[in-house]
């Protein structure tokens, strides 16, 4: 049983919440143009760490708002609760965010988009 500190309603039992899996996942902006491997990464290949995990939760039986938490999957300790559109401020949680292989994918996608824009521009 987790005690989750909803940013709007305060601490409540986890049975009031809905789990949303990995946080900070970005949907490929043009799914029909990405490779099957990239689409599979988005759909199926979630992080499943033994340790600190950044995950989405929704207070579905309360304020019904989404937010993120940084939680340890072994001790279940919640390190930080933070808004859905923000990054964690805790240093360990920030490191987990940065070490996720999705950041490399995103950087590659951005580089490709920039290259394409330049090409069109030329």
């Amino acid at each position: 049983m987790l005690l989750i500190d909803c940013p709007w309603c305060g601490p409540r039992d986890d049975s009031e919440f809905q789990y949303g899996g990995e946080a900070h996942k970005r949907r490929p902006p043009a799914p029909d143009q990405v490779s099957d491997a990239v689409w599979a990464d988005y759909l199926f290949h979630n992080q499943n760490p033994k340790g600190l995990y950044l995950e989405r939760w929704r207070h579905s039986a309360g304020c019904r708002r989404w937010f993120n938490i940084a939680r340890d999957t072994v001790s279940h300790a919640v390190l930080e609760v933070y808004p859905a559109d923000a990054l964690p401020s805790n240093a360990a949680a920030r490191a987990v965010y940065e070490q996720n292989w999705r950041r490399e994918n995103e950087a590659a996608a951005n580089a490709a988009a920039v290259a394409e824009t330049t090409e069109i521009g030329a």
């Binding site: 099957d36 759909l43 199926f44 979630n46 499943n48 995950e55």
Partner: protein, 430 residues
Amino acid sequence: MSAINRGVRALKNSAKRYSLAALARNAFNGHNQWTEAWRNAKPREAYDVVIIGGGGHGLATAYYLASVHGIRNIAVLEKGWIGGGNTGRNTTIIRSNYLWDESAALYEHALKLWEGLSQDLNFNLMFSQRGVLTLAHSEHEMKEMSRRVNAIRLNGIDSEVLNPMEIKALVPIIDINPGLRYPVMGGFLQKRGGTARHDAVAWGYARAADDFGVDIIQNCAVTAIRREGDQVTGVETNQGFIKAAKIGCVASGHSGVLAAMAGLRLPIESRPLQALVSEPIKPVIDTVVMSNAVHMYISQSDKGELVLGAGTDAYNSYAQRGSLPIIEHMLEAAVELYPIVSRVRVLRTWGGIVDTCPDASPIISKTSIKGLYFNCGWGTGGFKATPGSGHVFADLIARDTPNAIAAPFALSRFESGHLIDEHGAAGVAH
């Protein structure tokens, strides 16, 4: 389908073979001369194949590599004690009543191996084909069930639809009052389904594999997977480096941790799954009854304990414990369906970490790294498949090519989109 190659029988001419003669001989010696069932091996420098994970699936893989494929230079590495993970934590249910052809082939392969496995292994697995009954609680579920039964029968697997009166005759303690919140509208029965003693499955495979020379190494945790280029070379463990050109990962809830060591991504979420047993009572139920809608399944052990299975927690965890609301939810359903259990006390509850897959079907696959194979993703229902899983995985490792049964379960299905959606046939939603 051709006959299954069950391999060379274990302990055939061994002095260690369990038999009436052995029992009599040992009785005269005051039962002081029984030999250990398997050696407590120390790791050697190198093996042909290293299996990571000493649960039922890993031990079965090692056994079939030895008995069917003649590969005997094998180590099974187990970070704790063999059978101490999900093999010793499940509710021991065996069945093969899945919807899709791919699953039917895999689970029926396993069920056929179960039939006769005690003889193959010379170990009493207490395999009991007491039948598995699955309940339907709504019109929609009845229709869905009829469709599934037809699909199952077309695959040559036994299944029959029962009405509430037939269910009452089979399970006298069930309440079929139509006024229940989730009334029993009907169900379907696989008579060849049943249960087995889960610990005995691990011990039986371990003993038989050991007789073929397989080293079973306990308290041996893998810390890294080494490779040169795209070929594996061995594993680092807390007992030193072990060289191997082929590595089979069969680590259930920890598969993702192993995959990360090799830089691979698996579509797996690790979740706690819980079960419990009651205090022992006199025999009241001689079959297995499952209900997907209310999320509980029940059988009775030979000791008299009611064995009840619950659902998974909704969030990822490696804690090997689940939360109480899941247990409460399952017990509510148990008390409504079987009113006589309302005053029976819970003896103990426990959890195991299962590796759930997006399509509720397992992964039996090669990887992009040569010599590295994964057998995982069995989620909430791997025990029933133990012999079949080991049999096809051994075949994959030995030949480096998936056979017809294993091929649909390759990792590539998550890119190609050929998912095998068995959420309806999995006992537990995830």
